[in-house]
């Protein structure tokens, strides 16, 4: 029954669980934490596609998350736009900025790309922090509206909000699944493998990298927009590097470059850190080492670890089967030789 650990089954299991979760518990707090975790997952998926499938680690992810959040907030609170229109526009704005920044930053590679984007992220943060007249500066923005009704569907209870976010998460997972399992996904992996090689087999690496970068920022923006309308208050700290590191941590612990990693990592870290709340000031004394140990012992993340384990198990089974086959062969060989002896 270990087949539940297959990526596909794991995701299916998660979806099922997520859908019935509010029926199992009517604990508002858990639903709140879960909703937040879902929002993070969307952002993690965005980073996963970029870092996990093309090998470009962007440390500006929180910046784009913040851009999504601020766009939505400003368009609704300051420009007075209707919620869903602002929502769509926020995604477009984030993606466009992603396009521009991608065009410049993707000229660098590896560590340089990582640190370049770290700086870009920092610049985004500083701009939000300093541009008082637009963003409210350090004070942040309050009074952000929650999601508006869609026809008869309203989103003013925690549970309806939960399902709305879940809907977007599932959409994200579906899109990711399809991208990764398509020719487009193969193209991305080819770039991660070797950009030079990809280029020589006729793949325009710049176009494709740019595409992934924009998709990745799109999902960061989506998560940001959902975050803003869920917490309904935002300050510049959501664009700070720490948030990028959190997102990255979820990804690494879950398993970078795997489809279930973002879900697994986020759930685990979010709940572990909630569970450690009783330690209060000393929470990080435990959480820090746990994080370090996880990375040391599960370098491919938890999903990757499970995959490896599955693989080993299969390998073992195959070997066992081979052994059995061999034994049988030997047996039959003995039989034939015995038969031959008889005949002889």
């Amino acid at each position: 029954m270990a087949s539940i650990f297959k990526q596909r089954n794991m995701i299916a299991f998660f979806i099922l669980f997520a859908i019935v979760f509010p029926f199992i518990t009517n604990n508002n707090y858990m639903i709140h934490v879960m909703t937040l975790a879902f929002i993070w997952m969307i952002a993690v998926y965005g980073l996963n596609l970029l870092a996990g499938y093309t090998g470009y680690l962007s440390l500006a992810h929180a910046g784009f998350f913040a851009i999504g959040a601020y766009s939505l907030s400003l368009l609704t609170t300051k420009a007075g736009m209707s919620y869903w229109l602002a929502f769509v526009l926020a995604l477009i704005i984030t993606s466009l900025l992603g396009l521009v920044i991608g065009l410049i930053s993707l000229r660098t590679k590896e560590h340089f790309f990582a640190i370049y984007t770290l700086c870009v992220g920092y610049i985004i943060y500083l701009i939000i922090d300093k541009w008082d007249s637009l963003t409210g500066g350090i004070r942040g923005l309050i009074g952000i509206p929650g999601p508006a009704n869609i026809g008869p569907i309203t989103f003013n209870t925690p549970i309806s909000n939960y399902y709305l976010v879940l809907f977007f998460l599932l959409l994200t997972v579906l899109v990711m699944y399809r991208i990764v399992h398509s020719l487009t996904g193969r193209t991305f992996i080819a770039i991660r493998n070797s950009e030079d090689l990809a280029q020589t087999i006729g793949i325009s690496t710049m176009t494709n990298k740019l595409l992934v970068f924009v998709i990745s920022t799109f999902f960061a923006g989506l998560a940001g927009a959902l975050y803003a309308s869920f917490i309904r208050f935002i300050g510049p700290d959501i664009g700070y590097i720490n948030v990028t590191f959190d997102i990255l941590t979820y990804l690494i612990v879950g398993g970078i470059g795997t489809l279930s990693g973002p879900v697994v990592g986020t759930i685990i870290i979010v709940w572990v850190s909630q569970q450690l709340q009783f330690l209060q000031d000393y929470r990080m004394m435990i959480f820090g080492p746990i994080l370090t140990l996880l990375v040391i012992f599960y370098p491919r993340g938890i999903s990757g670890g499970i995959q490896d384990w599955n693989m080993k198990r299969k390998e073992k089974k195959r070997q066992e089967k081979q052994n059995i086959d061999k034994n049988q062969q030997m047996l039959s060989a003995q039989e034939t030789s015995a038969a031959a002896n008889k005949n002889g």
Partner: protein
């Protein structure tokens, strides 16, 4: 999957909420969410200390008396790392699992995040922030504990203009609070015929050395410097300004405390000509010396206003519960806050807070102190 959590800092069951129990005893959980780890932890801990100390005193005195039934206070505190979203999760958790009628939080981001749902989830916010917006939004279950800072503008300005002159340079901390102060002080200073010759903020969490910015400010030859933020870095700013040859006065915004600054500068001499909030330890309210002694015994340092105001705030909430005859109806408790303030025992009155405004803010009497000849002297505020 998730039960318990939170830490119980005072004795009492964790059965949560206004557990009516069987006998004459019950427990009421009071929530706290604030930065208990990370760079702002020192601040979070001091605010929490105030709440805890009050809770312990109340419990020692028998608890909250509701119709003869005694309720012990149990403070459940959670760490939010200064982040609004974490504060939100914590509040949900406190309400859900500990049934807390009141949640204290010492940062405006957290307050804003809580205000989104506190009226629906039905809990009071013990808001420790002088940000005006938290009470302007019309949230009916928010109580602002610290005084608004507007009241300081007049005494500070008058004093410094008379003593040093009309040119001022602004060097507050780059926090929201610092900005608010600067934005309020600037027009007032100018109205009084003064001139703001330099205006920029110092980010204590990002700047290693303040020499650069102070040099730039002093280039404009100000008579007065407006500084502030956490006491210790503020003191460093003062010290470095002196090193760079500044001889004028300082307006110290209320987050920084003169006495705490003295610990950094070594003596009051360097602070000569400063005006700021009267240190709690130097206040002449009758209850202060005892309180300071007790606090010192418990936490090994002099209390500042973060601890003091939260302490008195907790007491006021407890008394309001008694007056409201309820430990679990936030609206009712809020309605009886004035009674709570009125009924404060004398030994608790380390600040003079005669009333609570319609907006939910405590209206304290301001106490202002200045350094003259190496000593703190009280300055009349009104």
């Amino acid at each position: 999957a998730c039960s318990g959590g939170g830490s119980e800092s005072t004795s009492g069951g964790d059965s949560g909420g206004s557990d009516s129990g069987s006998g004459g005893e019950g427990t009421v959980n009071v929530g706290y969410t604030g930065p208990l780890s990370g760079p702002a932890a020192f601040y979070g801990e001091r605010t929490l200390n105030g709440v805890k100390m009050a809770a312990e005193e109340i419990n020692e005195a028998g608890g909250i008396d509701i119709d003869g039934k005694k309720f012990k206070i149990n403070v459940v505190s959670l760490d939010d790392k200064y982040l609004p979203n974490e504060a939100g999760s914590n509040a949900k958790r406190l309400v859900q699992e500990n049934n807390t009628p009141i949640i204290f939080t010492p940062h405006s981001g957290g307050i804003f995040a809580l205000q989104v749902f506190n009226q629906v989830d039905n809990f009071l916010i013990g808001a420790y922030s002088s940000e005006p917006k938290i009470t302007e939004a019309g949230n009916e279950l928010t109580v602002r504990i610290p005084p608004r800072y507007d009241g300081y503008l007049a005494p500070f300005t008058t004093y410094q203009m008379e003593r040093f002159g009309k040119k001022i340079a602004f060097l507050p901390t780059a926090s929201q609070y610092g900005k608010d102060w600067a934005e309020a002080l600037e027009p007032y200073w100018e109205e009084q015929g003064g001139e703001v010759v330099y205006n920029s903020a110092i980010d204590f969490t990002k700047d290693t050395d303040f020499f650069t910015i102070i040099t730039n400010a002093l280039k404009e030859k100000p008579d007065v410097l407006f500084v502030g933020g956490a006491s210790e870095p503020t003191a460093k700013v003062v010290k470095q300004a002196r090193e760079l040859g500044f001889e004028g006065g300082f307006i110290i915004m209320d987050q920084a405390k003169l006495d705490e600054m003295k610990r950094v500068t070594g003596d009051y001499e360097m602070l000569e000509g400063s005006i700021g909030v009267m240190p709690l330890v130097d206040s002449d309210e009758a209850a202060v010396p005892d309180y300071v002694k007790k606090y010192n015994e418990k936490y090994g340092e002099d209390p500042g206003s973060e601890a003091g105001l939260n302490y008195i705030g907790m007491w006021a909430f407890a008394k309001a519960m008694e007056a409201a005859n309820s430990v679990d109806d936030p609206a009712k408790i809020r309605d009886h806050m004035q009674d709570g303030l009125d009924n404060l025992p004398d030994h608790v009155k380390i600040y003079d807070i005669p009333s609570i405004g319609d907006d939910g803010g405590f209206e304290s009497t301001l106490i202002v102190g200045a350094i003259e000849d190496g000593k703190v002297v009280p300055i009349p505020a009104e």
